[in-house]
Structures are given as structure tokens and as C-alpha cells.
């Protein structure tokens, strides 16, 4: 058995640990009242130790809807001498909610009686919102890239389907014309029916083309965005798994980059395409360095993605930004063409240069600017 005297809750060692850690730690008495409330707990909640000690946690810290659950866990922890994990919400002195993940441990005296509960927490509020944000962004991007592909498909379907519709309308027209001649100007209801049929075929064609236009010219809404933030978010997604491929990433975001009127999701799509291409290009490279940077110059904001990969194959150089140009077995060759149309729509420029040292650098430039040119959303 270990020496229980080591647990001296007010000794210098305990003090040092409790007051320096960034984790909120509280020690509770069997009745639920607070016996110790460390510095991190004070910072988190806004209550001082003096205010907290002696009060029961569920009387002021636990959010109303969770009071019963917390009391349950509390009793269970006392009953069984095992660490218990759970998460709950605390309300701070200024009425904010924080989400906390707890590990609880019962403390026993020499006789084996439970004297206290030591609860060590982690504030997961920010982590959670970042995670949620990330998965939102990921979802939107997925949707976006589907839309782009859908746009291509919709265009070719519209064309393909329009041909049989044209054939059908013409055939019906032929019959209607023949009937008209035979009826010698007399009223013939069949002709009207046929003409109605042609009208319906035209309607089908129009609907189809509207759909194509809708998907293809997927509404871009440009609002002022912090370019560095957009690049950071996009990099986070594109670089998932980059560690495993031993890629050394340097992010070099300039100061005072400021805002530009952008469609956030579209620009992130561009950054992701460029980073994924760079990662692909470095598969065979002994040295894998990826540099993502931003700069501001003459009213333009530049986003650059540089790699130490294979460089752009000579034969692709002139067609790089055209659709379906690829050197990859599993590539569609749409990444750069989509990126170019997005940057064009932002009145920007995208270019690529091979580097003497091997590898290449892609640069996108978009006009900087704050609150201007918002689209008319209908």
C-alpha cells in the first residue's frame, strides 16, 4: 500500500502543482462543497478561491439542466473508489458557458474512508468550436468541389439532352405542318395538341438550361475576408496527413495583409488544390519542403504555394490551366482549371513558375479591399 500521508492537500508540493497548472482543479468534500479551488479555476470562472470555497458546486457552477446528472456522478464517485470521467458545462461569473472534461479521483484516509474528490478538468470549449468549424469548412468544400464537377456534368447533359428534344420537337412539328396542309385552313384540334407538345418540349429544354446555369454559375458572394485567416484554415485541411509524408511545412503569412472581397469557400478551394498538387509533386522528392505565404503589394494580395517537387512537366506548361489536363493516374485534371476560373471571377491572376532549384511556385493575386462590391443576390 502507498503512504497516504503523502497526500497533503495544503503542502508546498500540492500548492506548486495546483497553482501552476493550466488545468482547473477542484477538491470537493463529501457533501459537495469546494475545499480547494486552484488558480486555473479562478481564471476560468471569474470566481476567486475565497468566493468559491465552502459553496457546493451545483449551487453556482453547474448549469441548471445538468445539476442532477452531476450529483449522480458525484455520489457514484464516492461509492466506488475509481476514477470517473465525464464532461459538463460550467457557468462563469459573467454567465458564459464553458465545456469541461473531467477526470475524478477519490482521496482516502488511513482507514480507507473517502475524504475528498480531486477533480481535474480540461476546458474543451475552444477545441470543440475549432473542430466544429473545421468540419464545417470541410463539408462546405466537399460540397463546392461536387458543385464544380456537377457544373461540368450539367453542361454536357444539357447539350446531350437538347439534341433528342430538338429531334422530338421537329418530328412533332413535321406532323403538325402536314395536318395543317390537309385541313385546308379548317380548325383542327389535333394540331393544337401537337403545338402544345412542342411548347412542353421547349419548356423542358429551358428548365434544363436554367439548371445548368444555376449549377455552373454557382453564386459567388464576395464579402471582405481576412486573407491570412482563410489561408490558415485551408492549409489546416489540406495538410491533414502531411506529417506522415515527412513534409516540412513553413507558413509565412505577411503582416498587415488585410482584407479582400472574396468568396471564402472558393478561395479556400483554390488554396487546397494548390497545396494538394504540391504534396503530390513531392512524392518522389528526397527533400520535401512546402512554403505557404501571403504578401501585399500595390493593392493586390498574393497567396503563394511553393514546393520542392518535380516541377511542372514541360509538355503541360502551355495547357496547365485547361480542364482535364493531368499527369496523374488518379487525377481528373480539374483542380487548376477550377482554381483559375475562381481566381478569374475575383478579377485576379494565377500563375506558375518552375524553380531552378527544382519544384515550382504557384501565385494567386487578388485585389485587396474592404467593404465593397457585394453581389446582388436574387
Amino acid at each position: 500500500m502507498h503512504d497516504l500521508d503523502l497526500i497533503d492537500l495544503s503542502g508546498p508540493l500540492a500548492d506548486a502543482i495546483l497553482e501552476t497548472t493550466e488545468s482547473p482543479i477542484v477538491i470537493l468534500s463529501p457533501d459537495g462543497s469546494i475545499a480547494r479551488f486552484n488558480k486555473a479555476s479562478e481564471t476560468l470562472t471569474g470566481y476567486s478561491a475565497a468566493e468559491a470555497i465552502g459553496r457546493k458546486v451545483w449551487d453556482f457552477l453547474i448549469v441548471d439542466e445538468e445539476i442532477d446528472a452531476v450529483r449522480g456522478v458525484f455520489e457514484q464517485t464516492f461509492a466506488a473508489d475509481i476514477p470517473t470521467h465525464f464532461t459538463n458545462y460550467w457557468k462563469t461569473k459573467d454567465a458564459r458557458r464553458r465545456h469541461l472534461k473531467w477526470s475524478n479521483k477519490t482521496l482516502l484516509n488511513k482507514n480507507g474512508d473517502v475524504t475528498n474528490i480531486l477533480a481535474t478538468g480540461i476546458d474543451i470549449t475552444d477545441i470543440e468550436s475549432t473542430e466544429r468549424r473545421l468540419s464545417e469548412v470541410q463539408f462546405e468544400l466537399l460540397h463546392m468541389s461536387r458543385l464544380s464537377t456537377l457544373g461540368e456534368i450539367a453542361t454536357s447533359i444539357a447539350h446531350e439532352l437538347n439534341q433528342p428534344l430538338t429531334a422530338a420537337a421537329s418530328l412533332i412539328g413535321a406532323v403538325s405542318l402536314t395536318l395543317k396542309k390537309k385541313s385546308n385552313g379548317e380548325l383542327c384540334p389535333q394540331i393544337e395538341l401537337l403545338d402544345d407538345a412542342v411548347d412542353e418540349i421547349r419548356r423542358a429544354s429551358e428548365i434544363m438550361h436554367q439548371m445548368r446555369d444555376f449549377v455552373r454559375k454557382h453564386k459567388t458572394t464576395r464579402t471582405p475576408h481576412d486573407v491570412n485567416k482563410i489561408v490558415e484554415e485551408a492549409s489546416a485541411i489540406a495538410l491533414i496527413g502531411a506529417d506522415a509524408q515527412k513534409i516540412k511545412v513553413t507558413t509565412n503569412l505577411g503582416n498587415n495583409i488585410g482584407e479582400a472581397p472574396l468568396d471564402r469557400i472558393q478561395i479556400q478551394q483554390v488554396v487546397i488544390n494548390l497545396i494538394r498538387n504540391a504534396i503530390d509533386a513531392m512524392k518522389e522528392s528526397p527533400e520535401r519542403r512546402l512554403t505557404i505565404s501571403t504578401q501585399r503589394n500595390d493593392g493586390m494580395i498574393a497567396i503563394k504555394v511553393e514546393d520542392t517537387g518535380s516541377g511542372i512537366p514541360e509538355e503541360l506548361k502551355t495547357r496547365l490551366f485547361e480542364p482535364f489536363v493531368t499527369s496523374k493516374d488518379d487525377g481528373l485534371g480539374v483542380g487548376l482549371s477550377i482554381s483559375k476560373s475562381i481566381i478569374d471571377a475575383h478579377q485576379g491572376e494565377i500563375s506558375a513558375t518552375n524553380l531552378n532549384s527544382g519544384g515550382c511556385i504557384f501565385t494567386c493575386k487578388v485585389p485587396a479591399g474592404g467593404h465593397d462590391q457585394l453581389d446582388d443576390n436574387s
Binding site: 439534341q163 418530328l171 412542342v198 429544354s205 434544363m208 438550361h209
Partner: protein, 208 residues
Amino acid sequence: MTTHKSTVFLIDDDVAVQHGVTALLTAADHSVAVFNSAEDFLSKLTTLDTVNTAMLLDVCMPGIQGLELQEQLYNDGVEIPVIVMTGHGDVPMAVRAMQNGAVDFLEKPFTVEEVVTALDRAFGLSRPIVKLTRSASPELTENYESLSPRENEVLRGIVDGGTSKEIARTLDVSPRTIEVHRHNVMSKMNAKSIAELVRMAVALGVGD
């Protein structure tokens, strides 16, 4: 009655379209010669009688595009009036074809009236291929000058091939407003169809 029965050269790569349009034109008392592509047509051109003919040309085909065929015919002095067929809403292509000398354009799928009217016009022309340049009549010019600045912008937008929505976006007003302007433009210009409006615009040199 003409000595020659009028013949329409139909150039389209889709077999079903060839079949349907041939039936329609036959019912309208034209004889029809079908070609699968611009190349197909050019290779047989020397054997064809081009008197009293017109061409229905799909501008969206693989191989030599419709526009290039027009260019070649023009350079070779072959005077066949050309009516181009475009996909729905592909006005920019139509505008280019008409600048290239096409007499009209039809949006697929078309009605009997549209194709008959276009062909009647084509066959009635004394000089079928006149590259449409600025050849506006005084009346047309007068109509054009009666347009308000906004209506003028809308006309440009239409000729550039914009849908109401797109024009609305560039001009920063609602699509509904554009519909109203579009209607006013058509009536002030006395145009019965977009094709006619485009023809007028090209004659006026709008959008050059």
C-alpha cells in the same frame, strides 16, 4: 414558282436531329441534304448545286466549328445564306455567327413557325451573305436613339449573351427590373425576337 425547288443543307452531327429536322423541312416543302460535319459538307461542296439553297448549321459540333465553316465559305465566295442553330441561351455564339454573316439564328429546340420564318427570309434575300457591319437604316438608328441609357446598357448585356440574372448582377439591379427594361427595348426597337434584336444590334454596331 422558282425553277429550282429550294434545298436546305442541314449540318448537324446528331442522327436524331437530322431525322427530325429533315421531316420538318420536308413537310415545309423543302428538299434536304444532310451532312454530318463541316468537313463532310466541304468535301462534297464541288458536287453541289448551290442555287436557291440555304444552310441550317449547328455551331456546336466536334471538328471544324460552324464559325470556321462560315469563314471558309465566305472567303471562297460561296453565297449560301446560313442560319445557325445554337443551344438555348447561347446568344454570344449567335452574335458571333451573325457578325460572320449568318442571316439568322435558331435556338434548339425550335418551332415550325421559327424555322419556316427564318428559311423564308433566307430564301428571299437577294444578297445572302453580307457580313453584318454597320448598315443601319435611318429608322433603326432612330429607334436605337430613343433608348434610355439604362435600356442601352441592357441591350448591350443581351448582345453579350447575358441572361437577365447576369445582366442584373453586372448592372447591380434586380432581375425583375431587367425584364422590364428588356421588354421596353424590344418594343422600342420593334424587335419580335431576340434573334431580330441581335441582328439589329449587329447592324448598329452595338458591342463592337
